[in-house]
Every structure is written in C-alpha cells, then in structure tokens.
C-alpha cells in the first residue's frame, strides 16, 4: 500500500523528533531519563495546549495572533481574582474560560462578518488582551491558595524520579481532544473544507460563518486553558508573560506538519512539533556552553525545511499542469 502523501510531513516530524532524541541520548545518556521526559511534558504543557487551538485555526487557513496575550491575561485574571475575591479557583477557571471563549468568538464573528483578514483582527485582539492584563495589574502577582498549591503539586512520580505532572497530563488530553474534534467531527470536517477554500466549502454546504466563529472560539478556549496551566506552572500572574508565544505556537504547528495555507495536517503532529522544540531547548541547557539563541536558529531552520517540504509535496501531489499556473 502506498502511504498517503499528506502523511509525509507528519511522518517526517515524528522521524525528526526520534532521530534528534537519539542523537541527544548518544551525547548525554541522562537524556533518556524519566526526569527529562517528565520535564518535556510539563515545561511545554501550556505551549502544547495553545498549539492545539492554533492547529485548528491554521487548518482552516486562518491565524490567531492573540493567544500569547490571552495566556498572560488569563494568568493575571486568575491571580487578581483569587487575591481580591473569595471565589474558589474552579469558579474562577470557569469564568475565565467563558471570557476567553467569548473573546475568540467575537474575533471570529468580526473576521467572518466584516470579511476582514484574520491577521488584522487577531492583531487587534492581541493588543486588547495585553492591555486588559495591564489594566488588572502592572506587577507580578503571586497566587496563594491551598487548592492551587495542590494542583501544582499533583504528579505521579515515575520510576527514576521524574514527575508526570497534572499539567503534562492535561496537555496530552488536550491533544487527544483536539484530534477528536479535528478529525472525527462534523465541525472538524468543515474546518478542513474551509482550509481547502471557503468558496468550495460554501458550495459543499458548509456553514462558513458559524464554523469560523467556532474555530476562533475554540482557539480562545484553548488559550484560556493554556493560561490556567501557565498560572499553575508559574504560580503567579504576570502581564509581561508569554510575549511572542503565539509565534512559537505557529512554529510548533508548522513543524508538526500542518500546511500553513490550511486544509492539511494532524493535531498529533503538533504534539511532536512542540516536543521537538522543547527537546532543542533541553539539549542546549544540557550542553551549557551554547548560546540559548541557538534554539531560535534551529527552529528557524526547521521551519524553513518544513515549508520547502510542503511546497515540494504539493508539486508531487498535484498534476503536472498545475506547475505552469503558479
């Protein structure tokens, strides 16, 4: 059986991740410890979760630049609410998710209703959310709550001393949930259809408006969830946190094999994209002599490779005459 060409980028991502891990392990045998594996999941949990939302957005051919600011806003919102009101964290989390989901939905409605580019609308959303975070506080606010500390501390101690934390588990759940939504639901099929071309999708009977709102609402929900995870991770809210995380998330999605123009990709690929980026960072810390800016350089090179790979796959997948058009 000849594998589907659409699977190539995903397979390439997985192959790169395991090859890179093998190379790291050969140089630093410590890399294959449960501690490192646990750290990879924990340290990248917030990024993985937000990248799930970003995957769905990019699958539809859109982009969401607001998510980094939404994460910072979420952390500050949680910290300030817990400091100033007597509400239980669970209620604060629920309120927050409603706010961020609505925020995403409004952006989706504007993108569809006014036929504006997602780039501009979510750019405005980025400034709005960051500004809102600064309105709440300009300081870094610690979170002191017994329930919160319990969340921070919940982990399963793996053999070898590594910690499989709650937030690491949450990320894996988010990936699984995102994969179900994208690949097994009607909504997911509509997302892929819009990514292939909104006009065709409309002809196919997809409700473009409702789906667009749903896509950005989903991204907002994931950004809010990621904000909760980030607040648990750092135990504080800081309005300057996660500047530029939206771009890291986009990079993770593309390295994960999703086509930047939309219509093709897998949520599980994003997990490997995130882990590959985490692995590069871990390697550089283990080495301890390289400048940490190498992380950015390697990610840049990987991104370029994936874009080239996608381009060439498109050439292979489409009939020869298509090449004369573009």
């Amino acid at each position: 059986m000849r594998p589907n060409p659409r699977l190539y980028p995903l397979l390439a991502t997985i192959a790169i991740f395991f090859t890179a891990y093998l190379l790291c392990w050969l140089q630093f045998p410590f890399m294959l410890s449960t501690r490192v594996v646990g750290n990879l999941l924990t340290d990248n949990a917030y990024l993985g979760i937000v990248a799930v939302g970003m995957t769905v957005v990019i699958l539809s051919g859109g982009i969401d630049l607001s998510v980094g600011s939404v994460i910072a806003f979420s952390g500050v919102f949680i910290a300030v609410m817990l400091r100033d009101t007597g509400l239980h964290p669970i209620i604060v989390f629920a309120l927050l998710l409603v706010v961020t989901t609505a925020f995403g939905a409004v952006m989706g409605a504007i993108i569809h209703g006014l036929a504006m580019p997602a780039f501009i609308v979510t750019l405005a959303g980025m400034f709005l959310a960051r500004g809102a975070a600064y309105m709440l506080t300009i300081d870094s606010v610690p979170i002191d709550h017994a329930f919160f500390e319990a969340l921070q501390d919940s982990h399963w101690r793996m053999p070898g001393g590594g910690r499989f934390t709650l937030i690491g588990a949450l990320m894996l759940l988010a990936i699984a949930g995102g994969a179900l939504v994208a690949h097994r639901t009607r909504f997911g099929a509509s997302v892929f259809a819009i990514g292939g071309g909104p006009d065709t999708a409309r002809l196919m009977g997809v409700e473009v408006g409702r789906t667009t709102i749903g896509i950005y609402a989903f991204s907002g929900l994931m950004a809010g969830l990621s904000g909760i995870v980030f607040a648990i991770y750092t135990g504080s809210g800081y309005p300057l946190a996660t500047v530029g995380t939206e771009l890291t998330a986009i990079a993770a999605v593309v390295i994960g094999g999703t086509l930047l123009t939309g219509g093709a990709g897998y949520v599980v690929g994003t997990l490997f994209g995130v882990l590959t980026m985490g692995l590069i960072q871990t390697y550089i810390v283990f080495d301890g002599t390289l400048s940490s800016w190498w992380t950015k350089i390697v990610i840049g090179v990987l991104l370029l490779c994936f874009i080239l790979l996608q381009k060439s796959l498109l050439r292979i997948a489409t009939p020869v005459r298509a090449s004369s058009e573009g």
Partner: protein, 313 residues
C-alpha cells in the same frame, strides 16, 4: 581487561568527584551590567575549576523554570539563579530541594520560603546611597552645599532605595541640602536633559554637588555642565553609583569625583558559599551582601577602566 575497565571506572569517578558542575540560569543580557555579571561568572567558574552550564533565559520566566528543571535532571551539584521576577518559583525550587541540589540566588530575590534556597547574594541598594552620601559629607567644600539629584526611573526600587540611603547619610550633616530632584530615567540622555534644566533653573545660585542614581545619568550631566561652560568635577562635585567603565574614564579626566560600585561579581561570594557547603555542609547566612566599594579619583581610575572595559559592559 577487567582491571583496565576497573581503573578507568575509578579514574572517571575520581574526575567526577573533583570537578563540580554548576548550572547558571541567567535572566538575559539586557544591560551591560548583566553581560559583565555573566562574563565574571564564567571567569570565576573557570578559575575554580568548576564546570559551568550556562542558560540565557531571554527575559522569560518559563525559560528559567525549564532550565532549572533540566539542571535537576542532569544532576548538577548546584544551581545559580538570577530570577527575572520575584514570584512563581516555589514548585521548581522544591524539585531542586528534593534532589538535594543547593540553589543560590544572584542579585535579585524571590518571594519563596527561605528554606528553598541556600542563600542569596546581592547588593544593599540603600547602603549604596549611604556610601555615596557619606562621601559627600566628608568631601564637601566649606560652608553651604546645595545638591541636585538625578533620580532613577520613578517608582523603581533602585531609585527609591538609593534616594533613601543618600538622605540617611546627609541627614545629620551640617549645611547639605537637596535643592532639586528629578528623574533622568537611568539614561544618559535623560541625565543630560534634566541637568540642563537644573542649570537653567539654578542660574545665579551655586550648585555645589550632583548626586546621580547611576553613572549613565552622571555622564549625561557632565556633558550638560561642560556645555554650560562650567567645569564638572571642580565647580560641581559629581558622585554616582554603579562603577561602569566610562565613569572611570571621566574620573581619570577629572570630570567625575566618586562612584559606588554595584559589583557584577555576584558569583564569587556564591561560589565561596557553595564550596564551604560542599566541603562540610556549612550553611551560609540567608543573605550575603556584596561590598559597595567607593572609588574616587585617587584610586587609579584608568587602571579600573582597563580592567572593566572587556567584561561586556
């Protein structure tokens, strides 16, 4: 064959025991001072035969947390941390404590419990202001002394503390009075502009001394005083804080009078504390205050300039 293996294993174990590995999570390289701190930490580690693993967090706390976790996973012998913010370190410090890895904080503090780190090395900002003030008390000319002050960024802790310390020192002294005080935002251009307005506002009145919260503002002010046709360092005494290389050049030229050092060598005392701890488990004090040394024109400023100019300032 077996014997060779055994000896090589013993050799490996021997080298592993003597060369300690220390992970250093640095905030970033946002200022010359921080770059100098990084350079000095590398030099100190090399001089002591310590294997230093360096990680630049690019101003992001999540990068610092990830780096500390990686250091713990690697099983380093100690961790140096210059935290970017004060909050949110509890859980990662607990992990290090659980793995019996001592953590030493450099230059900034955290709001976590003191049990979670071995010690913190830092400078006392109020004390820096006091040293600067004391110098003026001891060196002011006869009679009345009218002082102008260039403050740091409004509301920042160095600006508040350095202002407090200076006032503490001149409080009891006869004849010293702060007549004007404004922020120059810690920058050279800010210092120059504000000094120009001071000179205009005080024209006719004699200004006896300038106190700047950092050297950069003092250097800007020196330019303004020169442009006003006066002689900095003689007509107006100049004292500031930080001890960056350029101020030594100004002191060598006679344009500045004194500076208080905010030493970038935080790692020296940190390594001292760690070595004592490794040797026999000595617990250091929870706060190690670095020396706030005063430099004047008599301290061979040119040599000090030469010593500092390659540290990355």
């Amino acid at each position: 064959m077996k014997r060779i293996l055994l000896t090589s294993a013993a050799l490996l174990a021997g080298t592993a025991a003597s060369a300690q590995t220390v992970g250093f999570s640095q905030i970033g390289s946002e200022s010359g001072w921080r770059a100098a701190e990084t350079t000095l930490t590398r030099q100190e580690a090399e001089a002591r035969g310590i294997d230093l693993r360096f990680s630049d967090a690019q101003q992001r706390q999540e990068n610092q947390i990830a780096a500390i976790r990686s250091f713990v996973a690697q099983g380093v012998d100690a961790i140096l941390l210059a935290p970017v913010v004060a909050t949110g370190w509890d859980s990662v410090l607990e992990e290090a404590a659980e793995a019996d890895i001592p953590v030493v904080l450099l230059d900034r503090r955290v709001d976590s419990s003191e049990d979670l780190y071995l010690t913190a090395v830092g400078s006392d900002l109020v004390h820096e202001g006091e040293v600067a003030g004391q110098w003026l008390v001891d060196n002011k000319p006869e009679g009345e002394c009218r002082v102008v002050e260039l403050q740091g960024t409004t509301g920042s802790s160095p600006a508040i503390d350095r202002a407090t310390g200076f006032r503490n020192a001149i409080d009891g002294a006869e004849g010293i009075e702060i007549v004007r005080s404004q922020t120059g935002d810690f920058t050279r251009s800010g210092g120059k502009e504000v000094m120009e307005s001071f000179l205009q506002a005080e024209s006719g009145n004699e200004i006896c001394a300038l106190y700047a919260h950092n050297d950069d503002m003092a250097l800007g002010a020196i330019q303004a005083i020169n442009e006003a046709g006066m002689n900095p360092g003689e007509d107006i005494l100049i004292v500031s804080i930080d001890a960056v290389p350029d101020i030594f050049q100004a002191m060598a030229n006679g344009d500045a009078n004194a500076t208080v050092e905010l030493t970038p060598n935080m790692s020296g005392p940190a390594f001292d504390a760690l070595e004592a701890y490794w040797a026999d488990g000595t617990e250091p004090e929870k706060f190690i205050q670095t020396e706030s040394r005063l430099y004047t024109q008599d301290d061979d400023p040119m040599a000090e300039y030469e010593a500092r100019k390659d540290l990355g300032y």
